[in-house]
Symmetry: D2
Subunit: 345 residues, 4 copies
């Protein structure tokens, strides 16, 4: 049994990690930290976990946690992880960072979108943790930058088409919609039930901080630089992201051929499911699981390819993918602890 | 007081018409029909209307209704209206048809998307009822084809930019999301609470029957023929449509200039509100009202203009717009009976 | 036109008052205050009100507001109203206080449940504002203590049965469920979408501060002292309260007789609707309106009478009832500004 | 590996059984039946199960299924099970019936509430499947009548207090609220999203068919006959039941003593969790799991004990409890296949 700790465990992502790791056959969860809830049992803050973990939140230093664990998950806000990750890395611990701090390989891009970086030298050591694209590198890594939720859906959705050079990349548009848990558990007016229920709206149009991360990976897949349009929307649901992605075809392709390409590309993947032709993914069919469901359409009238990718933002978009990365790093079965069927209805 | 009747009044659109007309200062609602609920008081089928109308649903013929009213609203399924509208028109009654039967001016297009038309000769007599574009014609009409819900949001959203020829029309994409009431009150598995709540998915991608109607009007606005991509999604809300519309700019335009254009275009409109720069519309800010809220963004990195338009699909997208059209036809104040503030939260 | 002001106008109740008063035919809304949003237009904080009011929030003193208006609505937290109401009363203004500060006629009870009272002498001057019970007194008053939301539903639900002495009052149980807007617009963790959606739970069982207010009025109706059990629950909806009330019959009564009693008791009331026998009220049939819908059942096996009362907590449970009280005080039609049909679906 | 089949597998309960049994370590799911979807893969009807089962729905006879399996789950409507169960029993198969057909031990009561029974002789052979009360009998049984959802919550909630004779049983009131999945997947108007969302209402007050089942078990626990009041409500959530149960204490008991009693009573139970004193259960803390969470309160002013019990109606209220019963019958670990943490948020 490997010993794991979670730094910043009282947000929704931290809670989800706690839930998954508590049931993981190869992991012993030894510590969870939270300043706000220090001293309180996890099961008091999240009664759903009553009986599943006896841990209490600690207000511990990174040094203290470092001594306890083999692997640490950092579920901290952007800018905070970079103050903590280096110590764990120096101590030879495996680190999976769920913040954005080490996702961008280019320092300048990071600083344009996020501000100063205090441990920029580590940027080159972090592996971007999408297993379906970087499995080998992840397996050799000790330090994973776990992808953002929107990026996961868009990158998995576009990878086969980009690699096959099917798309006019200057026309790519990602129209995404996310459940509210993506905004975290901070008590913000905009996350209140009365502000969200019955509503639907775009936000940060063309300006969301996930943009550089998305473009970094899409550019790598296509082998050239380009920008995309990305519009996130807030959905009145707790979990789930659907990205509906548009791009003009470079040359005509049939739906059948496109579908075959995607099926082949993800043939060996446990967590990517390609919908049958004519069927489109629904976030409620992946929620509660680590799946990414992908659906495909072609609009012959406008020469657009339309790709729809659905994930649970807290699982494949955060905690589940982090555990998947841990499994690869540690040589466990890749779906260990992740064999959770979606909860439907 | 004008005497009005509603044919097919027990669906959600019919109910909404009943609700609005019951409180309209210039209208006496004299008859509502429904086969399914014939003989039952409206207030029994819709307890919300208890005390607001004493009418019972009738299973009446069009001839019977024709004798009772000056104006009739047809809230019937596509294909059914065309069997009834001609009789009212022959009798000299004003007709507002909320089905798709008379929205398309081109018979061939109609038959491609919907099938045979039994009163094709009337197509040329129907005025397409978006008051903001066709107010004059509507004022002279006796017969209005009330627009579809998705088309209303997309046409109002694009009109100023198209008229001003700002857009590369070959790149227009409308990514829309609708509340469940758009699917009507028929008991369909896909409209069940458990199938919809917590979900979000696209449907009829590139194949929705509102497409020819949208393109007819956009082409008219631009003065040339082109096709667009249109992807409807199902939202877990009761009411509301948000269309997020993308198109490449033909030449650079600033957000400030775009915003001014929209403000000027809709300056005299009571039911179109342009959001301040940087603010995007939320369906929950229009629901319960006849407003269309429009927000604007520019993505300089990709040269995309992004237009967001929000309406209540049952009001500005159906019953409210129908009443607005009636007000124009009858010479009432255009907002008579429609001075309903959005219900927020 | 009477000149009205709202003190504390940026919460949900204040917003609802703003919405209703902006459309009121006899009222000119002259000022709205908010510390948090001082200087911002109302329409910026609540885009739903765009076009309906041009007011800005002011951080004004009570003296400043006093000079501007004939009537003031205090939509302030408990304990804050009592610091402001006296000044308006001294200045001869009409005051409708939506806090709990002047609802309890007994000082000791107030201090047991809420703490010190700084203007206890005014308690005897405030009229408890349920028009269906105290219309005459309200008409002679200048100072109304507007009832709480739960109390309104429970008092209206029990009044006819208590007056008729049908119930064993020692057995009364009120099991109530409220939408989240009842908790206000403060950003509290417990009001977040993710904490509320999909959930249902009781809170403050037997300890809610509305208890003494409920009992004060029920005791007055029955003409004797007794306690009841009251269990509030949090519903995953924005608006609406349903109270399901149980009590043993003192002697056998038929449903028909009970139904007749309720119909007779509320025969002249515009805002109370008695459901037909066998039909039970749904909060979604009153939301958006000032109605209270009441349904009745009898369980002959256990001799229980079951009374269900539904209101919109922000309207009949707060802002709408406040306007109804204003209408009575000012001699307007009692439903002026309140002729809003419920928004269904 | 035991071979299991599900008869009537395309409703929500059948789907949930399919989901749980597909991941059960001791079970091979060999057949699922559905008339409506015969020939279709399960994963097409429920895309959430894509990759988790390769089965297709069959329109098979009971004889055909009988040959394939060791144990059968009947997830059929009331009245249908009784036509099928006898054949499986005669063939020596284990049977877990999720309908109401064999839950009532008294034929006359059955016929009063449900109508004719075609295999009344089997009533005495069926064991009522609440493991926490009848574990031993279940272990010796081959035929389990799986309890209803409301009854499970109410019986588990009241068992300790009734056994300890703490309550005046003539005063018991169960006020329950259920998610919409309890109404099944039939396309009924009352289960539509637009009819349910934003709503809350009581139904079948004092007349729900679960009443005789509840009273049978409560009477058995108390050792005497009595009736209770039971009011089900429809909640705008997919899953979850909360029962808030009221009864007068026979003699004074402290919350501390009551809490201890409940903790002791359920000390060895894996699936019953007693909330800490002062904490009340939320359905969202059990949904997705087989847990029943119980909270306790005492109202000293009225001498009422208030017990709140929360379950996931599809799991502990149906499919999960059925699997728990199977585990007991077959000698598997009682939580085999049921170690699923609640999905929160």
């Amino acid at each position: 049994m490997i010993k794991a700790a979670i730094f910043g465990a009282s947000g929704y992502t931290g809670q989800e990690l706690t839930r998954i790791l508590s049931g993981h056959p190869e992991v012993k969860l030894v510590a969870v930290t939270s300043r706000r809830f220090a001293g309180q049992p996890v099961a008091e803050v999240f009664p759903s976990l009553n009986g599943l973990t006896a841990l209490k939140y600690q207000n511990a230093t990174s040094a203290q946690i470092c001594n306890l664990c083999d692997i640490v998950f950092l579920a901290l806000p952007h800018g905070v992880s970079m103050g903590i990750a280096p110590e764990f890395i120096r101590a030879g611990k495996k680190v999976i960072d769920l913040s954005a701090d080490y996702r961008l390989r280019d320092l300048k891009t990071y600083e344009t979108w996020y501000g100063k970086h205090s441990s920029a030298k580590l940027l080159k050591d972090a592996v971007y943790g999408i297993p379906e694209l970087y499995r080998k590198k992840i397996g050799q890594a000790e330090f994973v930058a776990n992808p953002g939720c929107y990026p996961t859906s868009i990158i998995l959705g576009l990878a086969p088409a980009l690699k096959k050079k099917l798309l006019d990349v200057s026309t790519i548009i990602a129209d995404s919609a996310s459940g509210v848990s993506g905004a975290g558990r901070e008590p913000l007016t905009g996350s209140l039930f009365c502000e969200v229920d019955g509503g639907y709206k775009a936000y940060k149009v063309g300006k969301h901080r996930h943009l550089p991360e998305i473009e970094q990976e899409l550019n790598a897949l296509a082998g050239k630089k380009f920008a995309i349009s990305f519009t996130p929307h807030l959905l009145p649901v707790k979990r789930g992201i659907l990205s509906t992605i548009y791009a003009k075809m470079k040359k005509d392709v049939t739906l059948k051929a496109l579908h075959s390409l995607y099926c082949a590309f993800y043939a060996d993947e446990k967590f990517v499911r390609i919908c049958p032709e004519g069927i489109y993914p629904n976030i409620s069919s992946v929620c509660g699981s680590n799946y990414c469901d992908i659906g495909l359409a072609i609009d012959p009238r406008t020469k657009n390819i339309i790709i729809m990718a659905a994930i649970d933002n807290l699982i494949k978009g955060a905690a589940g993918q982090a555990v998947q990365n841990m499994n690869i790093i540690c040589g466990f079965a890749e779906d260990a602890g992740l064999q959770i069927a979606p909860l439907y209805p």
